[in-house]
Every structure is written in C-alpha cells, then in structure tokens.
C-alpha cells in the first residue's frame, strides 16, 4: 500500500484523503442516517396532499342546508335568489351543521348585507336590479319590503332604471334624455317578471329613426340627414349609440 501511495506526490495523497473522508461521511449520512421521508419528494407530496385534504371545512354547501330547511328551500328555489347560495348571506355554516341546536348561523337583517350586490355600481352587467342605498327607503331594513328567500319587489318596477340604471344615467345626459325607453323599445309586460326569457325589442329599420331624423320631414331642433343616402348599408344604431350624444 505504502509503495503504491509513494508513486503519487505527497500533497496529492493528503488532498485525496481529505476529499475521500468528506465524501464517505456524506454517503454514510445520506444512505443510513437520513430518514427516507426527507429524501423522497413523492412521499412528501403524498403527505402534503393528505394534510391539505384534511383541512377544516367552514362552508357546508347549499345542498346540506336543504336537507333540514326544506321549507325555506321550496320558497327560494323558484324566486330570483334561486342561484344564491344560503351561506352567501348566512355565512359559513359547517359549525351549525355539526351542532345545529347550539350554533346558529348569522341571520343578517340590516341593510349592509344586501348592498354588496344591490348598491348601484356602473360596472355591473345591465339588467341587474340596483338601488341607490342613500335614497331608496334609506332608513328601513331591506327585508321590510323584500323577503330575502323570495325577493320579488312589492310592486313591479315602473321605470326601466330599476334594473338598467347605468343606461338611464348615460341616456339622461344625451339628446334622447327626455324620451321614455318605451318610445324605441317595445317592452312586453312579462319582461319585468321574467327578464331573460322575455326581452324588449330594438328598432330594426332605418325608417323608425327617420320618423324624427329624416331631412324630408324635419322637426324643429333635431339633427336630420337624408335617410335615403346616409349610411345606407346600416341600421342607424350600428354607427350611432342612441343613449349618448351621438357617438359610439
């Protein structure tokens, strides 16, 4: 052995010994000392997934509510709030499911709960019923007139602005501000009750707008064009947005 080592320069032997010692320590530690949990990503991922799957559930889900509260569900399932989950208003209710007699979910009765959805917000899609909370029966709780499980308004809204407030607020500053919506849109009465299945009409002929805007039959103070030639390919609202000051 000594003869073998003597063939190498003395410094190289020393360095090699140091490195071999280090490598051996690492190898021994890796193979025998470290638990396999530390070295196997698959094992770790599995135990992590199990931990994740075992986390606490706070929202029980509407199906669970229906199990005991059939009456409320029957009322709710045909109304405007049929797609609204119970816990969206009553809060997380798993604790109530686990202990129904002692833990009760919140039963919001003040105005702030309803305002999350129903306060006027210009970005909401058109047709969603919205109110101005500062002026719409400002001091009464909403549930005084609207039953939350069947929130039919006490009277059918007379004005389109109840659900189309953003359009109304645009239109009111336009040239058509003084026109009722029904002048141009034929609105079946049923639209106010089943808005998505029964929809109003849009004028689909140039002659409709021509009634006011044709040069041939001029009305005082209204912009007019020769309807026979102006923008002939199109229906008028394909270029002019009727709810604003003429542009897009």
């Amino acid at each position: 052995m000594k003869e073998f080592l003597k063939r190498f320069p003395e410094q190289v032997v020393r360095i090699v010994i140091v490195f071999v010692a280090l490598a051996a320590t690492l190898l021994v530690a890796w193979t025998f000392i470290l638990p396999s949990e530390m070295k196997e990503p698959e094992l770790q991922q599995l135990s992590s997934t199990i931990r994740e799957a075992g986390k606490e559930i706070k929202y029980a889900g509407s199906e669970v509510c229906t199990g005991c509260h059939e009456k409320a569900h029957d009322v709710k399932k045909t109304g405007y709030h049929r797609d609204l989950s119970c816990e969206a208003c009553h809060g997380a209710a798993q604790k109530h499911v686990d202990n129904p007699s002692e833990v009760k979910p919140a039963s919001p009765k003040q105005r702030d709960q309803c305002s999350y959805c129903h306060t006027y917000n210009s970005s909401r899609p058109t047709g969603f019923p919205q109110i101005n909370p500062d002026t719409h029966h400002a001091r009464k709780p909403c549930i005084t007139c609207h039953k939350p499980h069947d929130p039919k308004p006490p009277t059918t809204p007379r004005r389109c602005a109840a659900c189309h407030a953003q359009i109304e607020r645009t239109k009111v500053a336009s040239y058509h501000g003084s026109l009722e919506c029904t002048v141009c849109h034929k609105v079946p009465e049923k639209h106010k009750i089943s808005p998505r299945s029964v929809t109003p009409t849009k004028p689909d002929k140039r002659e409709f707008c021509a009634k006011c805007h044709d040069k041939a039959s001029p009305r005082k103070g209204i912009a007019a064009v020769d309807i026979a030639t102006h923008g002939e390919k199109y229906v008028c609202w394909q270029c002019h947005y009727p709810h604003t000051l003429g542009g897009i």
Binding site: Q45, L46, S48, A53, S122, F128
Partner: protein, 248 residues
C-alpha cells in the same frame, strides 16, 4: 465495500424504488381521503365575465374558508374592475371588501365598456411555479391542482416571482408561499370550491374534465374560450368566456 454492505445498500435501493414506483399510481389512490381516487378527476374552472356583478362574496368566502389573512394585501382570489372609456383609456382596480370603491368609476357618459373580472390561481397544466421551486415544495397533483407543501417551503419566493398572474403571496405568519388550491379539501369530499359555491350569478362554474357530464364541459361548448396570457404557454385551467382584450 464488502458483501454485507453491498447487500444492505442493494436492499435499501430496491425497497425505496418499489415504494416510489408504488406511489406514482396506487399509492395516491388509497390514502388521500377515504375512497377518493385522484386519477378519476381533472379539475378546471369556467368564468363568464358577462355574469359577474362584482359583489366580492367570493373574495370574502375564500378568506373565511381558507384562513387567508384578512388584510387586503393577501388574496387567493380577487375581482378586478375594468373601466374602458370612450377615449380608449383604461382604469383597473381590485374591488374592495369594505365597499369603499373610488368615485372615479361613476362617470357613466365616458364609459365605453365596464365589467368585472374574477382572478385566481389558474392551476396551470404547465405551471412555471412548479418548474422553479428549488425544493419541490410546490407540485401538481394527478387531479390537476397545484399545491404548496407548507412544511417544505423554504420561503425563497421564486414561485411568487415566476407566477405570471400574481396568484401567489407569502403568508405573513407561516412565512411560506400560499395560493388558491381550488379548495382541495372540499373537492375530495365532493363539494365545490367556496368561490363557486357562494357566487350569486353562477359567474364561476366548476368542472371535472374527466366527468361524463359537467357544467364546465358544457361551458366550453356554448362559449368561445379564452385564457389569461396564452402566449406564455402555461396551459391555464381557468377558462374565461366573454373576456375583453384589455384584460391581462
């Protein structure tokens, strides 16, 4: 090394590879939660921009269910509000849970388009966050959810930098990365993620792409689908319908 050491090492190697091999298929099945088989599911979410009313119930419910810190600087899911004006300028804000949205949004006559966009972790099929994690603390489960192992994460925040969607945050208490898990702890029990559960307009739809019939499957037939930042090739599994080009 001598024969005994060789045999010892050999046995260890064989047994650990058997274990690893076993885990990739059967091992997952039997242990995550009762008889839940991840191989039978592949989850995705559909979001219809035309339906979102920006009520923020999803944001609130997620914080409650998943113990996300209450402050408005940590979100697993959030809703953005877009206002595109007639002069083509765009303003975007995250909606506030305390209903103190700025008034600048209420100028209707400048509005060209305005809408809400719910955002969350896209549970990408080709996730950049998993690619960059140095210790394999974040991983994809076989059923298509990307999870973070909070016991392994070292808090280097590389995944947070790598996520193109801003879906991840560093949990201020545990000091590890955190993000939306599609409420995995609910999925294994057959429940919906809470954001889908409490959405009043069914703007969020959840689905199992491996299921014979599912809301998400129908969604992908009825609507033209879009994903966020498709050019980055992350293969997101949150599909948007009616997504405006200004959303990024």
């Amino acid at each position: 090394m001598n024969r005994r050491e060789f045999l010892k090492k050999g046995c260890l190697l064989a047994s650990s590879s058997l274990l690893a091999g076993g885990l990739s298929g059967d091992g997952w099945t039997k242990t995550i939660f009762k008889d839940y088989d991840p191989a039978k599911h592949f989850y995705g979410m559909g979001i219809d921009i035309n339906k979102c009313i920006g009520c923020g119930r999803c944001m609130q419910a997620c914080k409650t269910e998943n113990d996300v810190p209450a402050e408005p600087y940590f979100f697993r899911t959030w809703v953005e509000r877009y206002l595109i004006r007639t002069d083509k300028s765009v303003t975007v804000r995250t909606i506030s849970l305390t209903r103190d949205d700025p008034a600048e949004f209420s100028v209707e006559k400048e509005m060209l388009r305005s809408f809400f966009v719910p955002k969350l972790c896209n549970q990408c099929d080709h996730p950049p966050c998993v690619q960059v994690c140095p210790v394999i603390a974040t991983f994809k489960t076989p059923d298509g959810v990307t999870l973070v192992d909070e016991k392994r994460c070292i808090g280097c925040r590389y995944c947070i930098q790598a996520c193109p969607y801003g879906a991840r945050y560093l949990h201020p208490v545990t000091r590890v990365a955190d993000k939306c898990t599609f409420c995995y702890h609910r999925l294994v029990k057959g429940l919906l993620p809470v954001c889908v559960e409490v959405c009043p307009k069914q703007a969020r739809l959840f689905g199992d792409m491996k299921s014979f019939a599912s809301p998400l499957g129908r969604f992908t037939r009825i609507h033209k689908m879009h994903v966020l930042k498709p050019s980055l090739n992350t293969d997101p599994k949150v599909y948007y319908a009616n997504l405006d080009g200004e959303v990024n």
